[in-house]
């Protein structure tokens, strides 16, 4: 297969320049792909997908009675990011996470940012992730958002924007690691030639971070991953991370509060847990504090957490900043807490609860992307240019009924990467989700999960909406 006739169609292409020649950093890969014997790339692609199925790297499709497991579609053409392009992204992400963490801490303490009229109290309190139960909590080291997956996009002119901050339980890092393993088997020579920065140390960095935030104790802390169980869509990832870190994967029913500690039931009786990397939502953590009907959590867990007998990662209440209205204020937070300008810009955002903004949004629905403030996974979204008059009427009514729940942004021309579609390459839109760890300091995993909208022309990259993924190569220089 060759790239002959590949057309960037006026979009920013991550691999080719507007004149049709490969970007310098992609030249070696293009040569390598074009030099493969006919059919070889397809054969390798299929072998890679089969390997993913055999190893069970799958997610569960909700609403399917058979409990069907699917692999996340995987594209064989990676996305390449030069070291030079990566450097400001990394700095910008660190800056953003630092400010967001200070914001969350402030929300549950003095609320200086509200008193100084930078963010309205109503915005904070109406955020779906706001948990009044968390007021006054002091997590170890003052860190709330230990693990973040921030979604980035690149527009037509090449500018990188932050699209959203995922501060609750961002998933996808296991796909990133497995994609890399598959690509290293597929293109070993290209890896050697390009100096691709490794990602395989993520599990040990994650474990280090988890140990660093343990409650003070003499011995090595005991860490566990808490999963809702085998039927959760991201179960593979929970299990993969526990396995890679060599720690226990526990369910709520394995845990109990005994002798004033969080303990797990083992074949030799109870054993303590000091740090819980929980992959269940705040609401399900502890029925005595949050939802009383939750069977997934542990009664009494929050009380232990408040008394620093156990650390929860991410901290409960972190979701207050995982809201698309709060998102709009992040550049103000960076200015307020750090006295700096944001290195990575936000996508311009209209907030429908503001009267002027709402009028503008309702008048321009066919140009804008409208999103529900609290939804994820590509649900509750209107892509204006691709919408029908009926859909626009429906969204207009929804916005009028609950303006706080909606924001709007211009429709960005997301950058594209060549993607194998049957026997040829076609451009497909992508985003990028880097993963950031915050323990003693802030660490950004080089690259991230590149999600690709496999449907022609689609801008929605979520796996629930026909998205796939690609490996992301950050080069040493």
């Amino acid at each position: 297969m060759t790239f002959d006739g590949y057309d960037t169609e006026g979009f920013h292409d991550e691999m080719f320049q507007a004149d049709g020649s490969p970007r310098p950093e992609a030249r070696l890969l293009v040569e390598r792909i074009e030099s493969l014997p006919a059919g070889e790339l397809i054969r390798r692609h299929q072998a890679a997908e089969r390997a993913l199925l055999n190893t069970g790297i799958t997610f569960t499709v909700y609403g399917d009675e058979q409990g069907t497991e699917r692999i996340l579609p995987f594209d064989i053409v990676p996305r390449i990011v030069t070291g030079e392009a990566w450097e400001p992204i990394e700095r910008g992400l660190k800056q953003r996470i630092e400010a967001l963490n200070l914001f969350i801490d402030d929300v549950y303490h003095d609320r200086k940012i509200v008193r100084d009229a930078v963010i309205p109290a109503a915005v904070v309190e109406s955020s779906q992730g706001f948990r009044p139960q968390c007021a006054g909590l002091d997590p170890p080291g003052g860190v709330w958002c230990h693990i973040t997956g921030t979604d980035l996009v690149r527009d037509r002119d090449g500018t990188v924007y932050v699209l959203e901050d995922n501060l609750r339980c961002p998933s996808g890092v296991s796909y990133l690691l497995e994609n890399r393993a598959v690509m290293q088997e597929t293109f070993p020579a290209v890896f050697e030639g390009l100096g691709v920065r490794p990602v395989n140390d993520y599990p040990s960095r994650l474990l280090q971070m988890l140990e660093d935030v343990a409650p003070p104790s003499q011995s090595r802390p005991s860490v566990a991953v808490l999963t809702p169980g085998v039927y959760n869509a991201a179960y593979f990832e929970h299990s993969f991370l526990a396995q890679q870190m060599g720690i226990e994967l526990v369910e709520g029913r394995d845990l109990a509060v005994v002798d004033d500690r969080l303990q797990m039931r083992t074949t030799r009786g109870f054993e303590p847990v000091d740090v819980l990397y929980r992959r269940i939502d705040d609401d399900f953590l502890d029925p005595t504090c949050f939802r009383p009907d939750s069977l997934l959590g542990v009664p009494g867990l929050m009380e232990l957490y408040q008394r620093k007998r156990v650390t929860l990662v991410n901290a409960p209440g972190t979701g207050v900043a995982d809201d698309k209205v709060v998102y709009a204020y992040v550049p103000d937070m960076i200015r307020y807490y750090l006295d700096q300008e944001a290195i990575l810009p936000n996508v311009p955002t209209w907030l429908c609860w503001r009267d002027d903004d709402r009028r503008y949004v309702l008048d321009h629905l066919s140009e804008l992307v409208v999103k529900a403030a609290n939804e994820a996974g590509g649900y509750g979204m209107l892509v204006g240019p691709a919408s029908t008059p009926g859909e626009r009427r429906e969204f207009a009514a929804r916005i009028e009924a609950a303006p706080r729940n909606y924001i709007a942004q211009p429709t960005l021309a997301l950058s594209r990467v060549p993607t194998r579609i049957a026997e040829r390459f076609e451009g497909r839109h992508v985003d990028l989700r880097p993963y950031i760890l915050y323990g003693r300091d802030i660490y950004v995993l080089p690259g991230g999960l590149t999600r690709v909208a496999l449907r022609k022309g689609s801008l929605v990259v979520n796996s629930s909406q026909g998205g796939g993924s690609k490996d992301t190569w950050v080069l040493a220089c």
């Binding site: 055999n54 069970g56 085998v230 396995q243 526990v250 394995d254 039931r265």
Partner: protein, 321 residues
């Protein structure tokens, strides 16, 4: 380790072993029928009896033809002991503890599962039965071998060993019982050539024919029973399996040999000691069927005590029997 995890590993291993044994019995019977033309129903009927789901089979299938029995024992999702059901349950258990298994072992379990769900598998089991059931056995062996070579021989491995060997001991008694049903209507035929064929098939279904011949030469009913029950070196004999399960049980608890610190150790210790001091004459005087029945009861007992000692109050996928 977590009680839930230990239970899942134990049951995962039991179900893989159970699937392998169903394939053994079906595969060998399928071959045996070739040597005994015209006795289709007679040959397939006992297989349903020993699986213990006879009423269910009669209600849903009626007669015991080759196709019916193979389908019921291999692909029937409503039969909890069909190969497909066993492997699905094993994989569900494995999926819930895959962080404990080695990646290679998990991959083998997953392959086994995907192999059975391949389009056309049902048809293949009928027209290419020999290859199909050999592949089932091979998949189980791949899992076991991969486990032994890639997992640390720690607590998780020992729980798997316990599950494997207790299930295998139980299945070997069932294979023997299969012969009991075969013999019953024709006690006078003992020693005739057709009987040799059947005892030979029985040994083959336990992969024991070659080992048996090396040790004993001619196939004779009592020697076969003794071999499958009491031989210490043959890996599928009840005596050998009970000993292996006991070694793993004591490795988990650290209790010295010939002592006990819990009911599981006591029950299993008694069983092993009983077998140690049994000879085939005792089996004959008790009656093969009764002896095997008691043995199955004792194995059940051991299983229950393992559950009570290590897995309660939270256990993995509940056993179906």
């Amino acid at each position: 380790m977590l009680s839930r995890v230990a239970a899942s590993i134990y049951w995962m291993s039991r179900y893989i072993e159970r699937a392998e044994n169903v394939a053994r019995v079906v595969g060998v019977n399928n071959q045996l029928v070739l040597d005994l033309p015209g006795q289709d129903a007679e040959q397939w009927d006992p297989m349903v009896k020993v699986t213990g789901d006879e009423a269910d089979f009669r209600a849903r299938y009626g007669g015991a033809t080759r196709a019916n029995v193979i389908d019921f024992l291999t692909f029937d999702a409503l039969n909890p002991n069909s190969i497909v059901s066993c492997v699905t349950t094993a994989r569900e258990n494995a999926r819930s503890v895959r962080e404990i298994l080695s990646s290679e072992m998990w991959e083998e379990i997953n392959r086994f599962y995907l192999f059975l769900r391949q389009p056309g598998a049902r048809e293949r089991a009928l027209w290419d039965a020999h290859a199909f059931f050999r592949e089932v056995r091979r998949s189980s062996h791949m899992i076991e071998g991969t486990k032994n070579e890639t997992m640390e021989h720690g607590e998780a491995w020992h729980f798997s060993q316990m599950g494997r060997h207790i299930e295998r001991a139980d299945q070997t008694t069932r294979i023997l019982d299969l012969k009991y049903f075969l013999l019953l209507p024709s006690a006078a035929d003992v020693g005739k050539p057709i009987d040799d064929l059947q005892w030979g098939a029985l040994l083959r279904s336990a992969s024991g024919l070659e080992a048996y011949r090396r040790m004993h030469g001619r196939v004779a009913a009592l020697t076969v029973a003794s071999f499958l029950l009491l031989n210490r070196e043959f890996p599928r004999s009840v005596q050998h399996c009970a000993g292996r399960a006991q070694a793993s049980l004591h490795a988990v608890t650290g209790t010295p040999a010939r002592r006990f610190a819990n009911a599981a150790e006591r029950e299993l210790g008694r069983l092993v000691a009983d077998l140690d001091y049994t000879d085939i004459g005792d089996v004959v005087s008790t009656g093969l069927h009764d002896f095997v029945d008691t043995l199955q009861e004792k194995l059940n007992h051991v299983g229950n005590e393992i559950t009570r000692t290590f897995f309660a109050p939270s256990s993995g996928s509940a056993p179906s029997d």
